[in-house]
């Protein structure tokens, strides 16, 4: 295969934000974007399997799931939904400020996002605490306060709460990871690191991830909290 050396070889004066395996910033940014979307595909499949399991059991045990879900506090879930939706807006704004190279704007918006994420976790903590107090976590002691089951069969209610804790727990884990990543990004912006200030792409990647986390919640909330009477 005939190969001719291309005109720009390796090792000439790149900026420090460019990794050695890439030829230019465009290639690097494109790769990051494709990589992030590919990663999000794996995340969709990951949560997709859980949603499938949930859908199946909910359709099998409609009444029990409905009765069990009444324990959940819809108001708290609603507040959390708006908190996350608002954080999606602030993340989108931070990407905009990154495009405009407005460092303080980015930091402010990411800061608000962090506060929203924290609020979400705190509300979630109180929700969990209540369920734990009512012995609604799966295991041998499940349903030892039967009044909180609202008449649902203990086995199927346990299935419901198992899925509830499993799915919201994994989502919560994603929120925590998101908070760490956003914190890292903020530190980089704070120190004016060229890794993030040079281009808005790193900020956008974090934004993409955060939107995905929000989106999962947008599905979780109606599926878990807002059930019609069967």
């Amino acid at each position: 295969m005939a190969a001719i050396a291309s005109d720009h070889g390796h090792g000439h004066g790149h900026d420090e934000a460019l990794h050695h395996q890439f030829e230019d910033m465009e290639q690097q940014n494109d790769s990051y974007i494709v990589g992030m979307w590919t990663f999000l595909v794996t995340e969709v499949m990951f949560f997709g399997a859980l949603f499938l399991i949930y859908t199946l059991y909910r359709s099998m045990y409609q009444l029990d799931f409905y009765l069990a879900h009444k324990v959940l506090d819809t108001r708290m879930g609603m507040i959390n939904t708006f908190v996350l939706l608002f954080s999606s807006f602030t993340v989108a704004m931070s990407v905009r400020f990154a495009q405009l190279q407005n460092r303080m704007g980015v930091l402010a918006m990411l800061g608000i996002t962090q506060i929203c994420a924290g609020t979400f976790m705190v509300i979630k903590y109180f929700e969990y605490q209540e369920k734990f107090g009512h012995h609604l976590y799966p295991g041998p002691g499940f349903g030892s306060s039967p009044s909180y089951l609202n008449g649902a069969s203990p086995n199927f209610a346990q299935l419901y709460f198992g899925l509830y804790f499993g799915m919201t727990g994994l989502h919560g884990l994603h929120v925590l990871i998101g908070m760490i990543v956003i914190g890292y990004l903020m530190a980089k912006w704070w120190r004016n690191s060229p890794m993030v200030t040079k281009d808005y792409i790193p900020t956008e990647l974090v934004g993409l991830y955060w939107h995905f986390v929000d989106l999962v919640w947008i599905f979780l909330f109606p599926l878990m909290y807002l059930m019609p009477k069967p």
Binding site: A2, S6, E43, S153, G166
Partner: protein
Amino acid sequence: MSAIPADPNVTAVSATPRTETNYLNADWSIKSWLLTGDHKRIGILYLVTVSFFFFLGSIAAGLIRYELTAPAGFILESETYNKVFSAHGIIMVFLFLIVAIPAILGNFLLPLMIGARDMAFPRLNLLSWYLFMIGGACIMGGMINGGVDSGWTFYVPYSSMYANSNVTMVLTGIFIAGFSSITTGINFIVTTHKMRAPGMTWFRLPLMVWALYATGVVIILGTPVVAVTLLCIIFERVFHLPIFSAELGGDPVLFQHLFWFYSHPAVYIMILPAFGVQSELIANFARKRVFGYHLIAFSSLAIAGLGFLVWGHHMFISSESMYQGVVFSLISFLVAIPSAIKVFNWTATLYKGNIRLQTPMIYALGFIGLFTIGGLTGLFLGCLGTDVHLTNTYFIVAHFHYVMVGGAVTAFLGGLHYWWPKMTGRLYPESIAKWNAVLVFIGFNLTFFPQFIVGFMGMPRRYHYYYFAPEFQPYHIMSTLGSTVLALSFIIPGLYLTRSLTKGAKASANPWGAHGLEWETSSPPPTSNFLQIPVVLDEVYDFDPVTEHEQDKAAQALEVPSYLSNEAKSIESEKEKR
């Protein structure tokens, strides 16, 4: 074929560095290996660890085979036997087959083949090796600390509620190793999309790259699902989360759906890269462009896509509905067609070639035969009526060993020999390797062909004893004899390849006279692969068997020894220059 007439003399003009510095000797410190971002070094790290796991898995296989020569066993207790076959399955599937070709050859070759300096995400690549090692350590830890006896399929409720063995730890290991697989898949996809050298269009990609890309797609779509599924079993065991437990309202068959949604495509994670290797070997040793390049490339994608729609054929008799069975069977028959196309195309490639029967080619020809049998016996199992009788028997064991060992392992060995000079800069001893390739073929058939017969007779798989059915014994004895030959034929390459690292002759940049960007840099390549990023101007597999044949004749007339084609070629070119 080519935009620029293919001139063999130009081949030598490449970015070959003059210095002896390469990725292997650039830095000898252990730290430089353990913290490397270099895809070639990560490939070597995988090679060492995966070979180790293959060794362990083979020992388990040997134990199984020797135990089965007697109808009532003579070495192991039933419980131990179950742990041994589970260990064999788990190690071979999760720690060898899924990683072998993609993570060793794929990691090493993908950037070289498309003319990139590295994978798109080198640190992610290193992370994937560490995840693999942590996962492997968990799996080995679980097996040493009590073992696991649920088989590699982990069917509930046995694995979730009844197995007393160390299932949780092993599942955690597989879960972690799954993320190693996912990161590799992401790297393959992004690298293929974004890192191709100028001029390297999609239809100039070697078929190995197409295969690795399709593999990446399967990995990222399938692996997360099995990760969640295994996580559910872990939760069920540890927190009593009643997801698959029938007694508490769960559905054990749902597990099988989720498991096979990954584990059937996982078969393609194992065999698609083998198809890629096979295409490279056939093209190079027939000295000819692969017949039907486009169709082979698309059939890889077709297999990756259709492969996600056939998982139900593992469950024809597992209480799924009759109509489900009919649909899954139909799609299973359809997915056989792209594989058949590949086999015919490889065979047709040989037509009017200039065939060299060197070691990798012998593996490649063996692959055609074994994969044909493996693929066609798959039809017996995709066919509803016959599956009812044959599933869960040794027929299925023989079938998937023909595909996995006869296909994937044969291709892996062929590919390892083919790229060995590139990876290590050394040549392996050709004659012993050639005879060993024949030995693999013989040993393999002797091991697994009798299992088709004993399976048709009705011997269920995973049976420790069969004293109640002594008519099975002759076939088990044959199979064990064959496995001895097969084991020998796996040990021999281990010895001569290791020896060649120090004693082997130094390899030139392109010892096979092959086409492809990986052969245009030195052997072994420098850390940054190419001194300058190549620009691709000609077509893929731009061999010219006619001219080569004439050159051979000319060289013969001059009585110049022409064992390696590029030596002959360089002499030719020098003559012409004069």
